[in-house]
Symmetry: C2
C-alpha cells in the first residue's frame, strides 16, 4: 500500500498522494551557461524527465532562470545552498520549487521573507538531510538524519509554511532506507527518494535501484532521482526502468534479452543495443525480446509483445510466445524491425 | 532475519544456512572451446566470482569439463537442458553441481540413475522454473512457477535425492519476488536468485538490483546471479556491488562519487573511472570518495575512508571527513593515488 502524503504542486505538476511517481534529474551544466543548460534539459525531456533541478550558486545563475524556463517544458527546481538572497532571487525569477535548508540561514527574518514569497507564488520548498548536514559523524546516523529533517520542517512550520517536500539521502543504501522508513511515519509531506554520491554508472544503478526500489515496494516515495556520476539522461532512463519494473509506471520499450550462453546463435547484445538506440524515444509501452536460441527463446520470453530469436542460419519472430515468422539470418533483423514498427504504430493509435 | 535453509556443498564451497551469500556467473563462451572458456572463467575469478555455470548442450561440452576444471579454482556448474545422458556425462566428468529439471526427462529410470551418481559424488542438483517451463502462458504465473518447482523437487525426493538448490526466475521483477517469497516458505533448500532475460547492462542492473535486493533484504537468497546481456565480468561486479550495499558482504573498493552539478570543480567522472580501473582487483574493503567541490565534498562523504574533492585550481584530500592535505590541481591526483596506495597496503597487513 502506498503511503498517503499530502499533495504538493510543482508548476503544473502535482506530486504525492495518489499521483504518479515522478522521475527527476539535475543538470550537470553551469547554470549561468543558459544555452548549455537549456540544451541539456531538452535532452532530458526527450528521455521523459518530468522535473529538473539546477544548481544556483550565485546571482548570475538565479537571473538565468527565466531565460531557461522560456525554452523548456517541465518544472524547474532551484538548488540553493546557504544564501537567502539567492532563494529570494530564484523565486522572483520564476523557479517552480526551491531546494533549501532553512537551518543554514541564520536570520529568521530571511526565512520568513522566503516563505512569504514562496507562498505568494505557490512554490514548494524541499528540505533535506545528508551527511553534509553534520560537522562530525553522528553516533547514530539514521536518527541524526531524521532529526535534522524534522528540524528543517519545524523552522518552516514556525513561519506558517507547509508546502514542503522532504528528502533524506545517504550514500549508504541501508541508512537511506532506515531513515526514510522513519520519516515516512512521522510527517505527511511527499518524499523525494535518492541515494546520494552513488558513484559511477554501474555501481550507482545497483545502489539506487536497491534502495529506491525497496522503499517504493514498501509504499514510500513520491518522486525519485537516480544520482549517477555520468550523463543525466542515464538518470532518467534508470528512473523509468525502475518504475516500470515495479509496475508503478508503464513507459516506452522494455527490452528483454537473454544473457547469452554457449547456446546463443545470434548477436543478442548488438541487436538489443540497436533496437534500444533506434526506439529510445518511443513512449508507448511495449515489451520486446531478443533471445539467443529459437528453442528456448520464444517460450522463456512469452511475456514479450514481440520478439526475435536466433537459430542456425535463420531465426524466428514471435508474438506472445508464438512463432509468427521464420526468416533467414540475412533478412531476420530487417523483417523484425518492420514488424516492430507496425506494432508500435498500432499501439499508438488512439483507441 | 535471514531465512535458514539447509546447507548444500558445491565442490568445497558451502551455501545456504549461515554461509556467505555467494556471487555466481555463467560463461558466454562455447563450452567446447576449452581455451576460451578457461580464459573467461579466470577473468571472472579475478573479479571475485565464486561459482561459475557453463552450458552443456552436447557430449563434446560435457567432455570438456575436466580440461576446464584443471585450470580454474572455483566450483563449476553444468547446465543441462533435456538430455539425461549429458547429465550423467557431466557428473562423471567432474561437474560440481548440475542444473537440470527432472520433469524434462521422460524416463524415471534415468532420473534415478542421475540421482544415484550425483549422490555418489556428493553433487547437488539445482532445479528451477521460468516462463520457458510452460507451453502456454499460465493464468496465474506466480502460482504456476511455484508449482512447477515443487514438482521438480517432488520428482527428486521421489528417488530419495535431497541435495537440492532451487531457483525461480522471471524477467518480471514483481513475479520473481512473489514466487520466491512463496517458495521460501514452502521448502528449506538454499535459493539461488536472479532476474532472467533482464536485458542490456543498464536496464538489467536496475531490474536485478531491485528484485534480488528486495528479496535479500527480506532474508531470502543464498546465491545470486545478475543476468546481463553484456560481459559476464559485469555480472560479478554488480553482484558484489549489491551485497556490499546491503551490508551482506564487505569486498573491494566502493567508490562514492557525486553526480556532478554546476558546482563541480574537478573531473569527477574521469577521476572516479581511473580509480575504479586502476584498483579493480583490490579485495580489501575500502570506501573511496571523489567529490566535485571542496566545500560540501568532505562533509557529504564523511563515510569514506579516503577522498578527494575539487576546488578552484587546487583540491583537498580527506580521510573520514577531515581534510588532511591541500594540493594544487596538477599534483592532486598523483598525491591522492599515493595516499590511497598507502592506505590499501596498511589495510592489507594481517592484523
Amino acid at each position: 500500500m502506498r503511503r498517503q502524503s499530502k499533495v504538493v504542486k510543482i508548476g503544473n505538476m502535482a506530486i504525492g498522494g495518489q499521483n504518479l511517481i515522478r522521475v527527476q534529474s539535475m543538470t550537470k551544466t553551469d547554470t549561468r551557461d543558459v544555452e548549455a543548460t537549456i540544451s541539456q534539459i531538452l535532452s532530458l525531456e526527450e528521455k521523459g524527465c518530468e522535473i529538473v533541478r539546477v544548481a544556483v550558486p550565485d546571482e548570475e545563475a538565479a537571473i538565468a532562470i527565466p531565460h531557461i524556463k522560456r525554452n523548456i517544458h517541465i518544472p524547474l527546481v532551484a538548488d540553493i545552498h546557504f544564501d537567502p538572497r539567492l532563494a529570494v532571487l530564484a523565486i522572483d525569477n520564476g523557479a517552480d520549487k526551491i531546494r533549501l535548508n532553512p537551518s543554514n540561514i541564520k536570520d529568521l527574518a530571511w526565512v520568513r521573507e522566503i516563505s512569504l514569497r514562496a507562498k505568494d507564488k505557490g512554490i514548494p520548498i524541499r528540505v533535506g538531510a545528508n551527511l553534509g548536514s553534520f560537522r562530525e559523524r553522528p553516533a547514530n546516523v539514521v536518527e541524526a538524519l531524521v532529526q535534522s529533517v524534522l528540524k528543517e520542517i519545524e523552522i518552516l512550520e514556525g513561519v506558517n509554511f507547509e508546502d514542503i517536500v522532504v528528502s533524506i539521502k545517504a550514500s549508504d543504501v541501508m541508512t537511506t532506507i532506515k531513515a526514510n522508513e522513519i520519516i515516512a511515519k512521522k510527517v505527511n509531506f511527499p518524499i523525494h527518494l535518492g541515494i546520494t554520491e552513488a558513484g559511477l554508472l554501474e555501481t550507482s544503478l545497483v545502489k539506487n535501484s536497491a534502495g529506491i526500489g525497496y522503499l517504493l515496494m514498501n509504499g514510500i516515495g513520491d518522486t525519485i532521482r537516480f544520482s549517477i556520476t555520468d550523463k543525466p539522461e542515464k538518470e532518467v532512463k534508470a528512473g523509468f526502468d525502475l518504475l516500470r519494473s515495479l509496475h508503478l509506471r508503464d513507459y516506452g520499450l522494455e527490452i528483454i534479452s537473454c544473457p547469452m550462453c554457449g547456446r546463443a546463435e545470434i548477436g543478442v547484445q548488438s541487436i538489443a543495443k540497436q533496437l534500444e538506440r533506434r526506439f529510445s524515444n518511443v513512449k508507448v509501452p511495449l515489451k520486446v525480446a531478443v533471445m539467443g536460441c529459437a528453442v528456448n527463446g520464444p517460450g522463456e520470453a512469452m511475456d514479450a509483445d514481440i520478439g526475435i530469436a536466433g537459430g542456425k542460419r535463420s531465426g524466428v519472430i514471435f508474438r506472445n510466445g508464438k512463432i509468427i515468422k521464420t526468416e533467414n539470418e540475412i533478412k531476420l533483423y530487417r523483417t523484425f524491425v518492420k514488424e516492430l514498427k507496425n506494432l508500435i504504430e498500432e499501439r499508438q493509435k488512439p483507441s
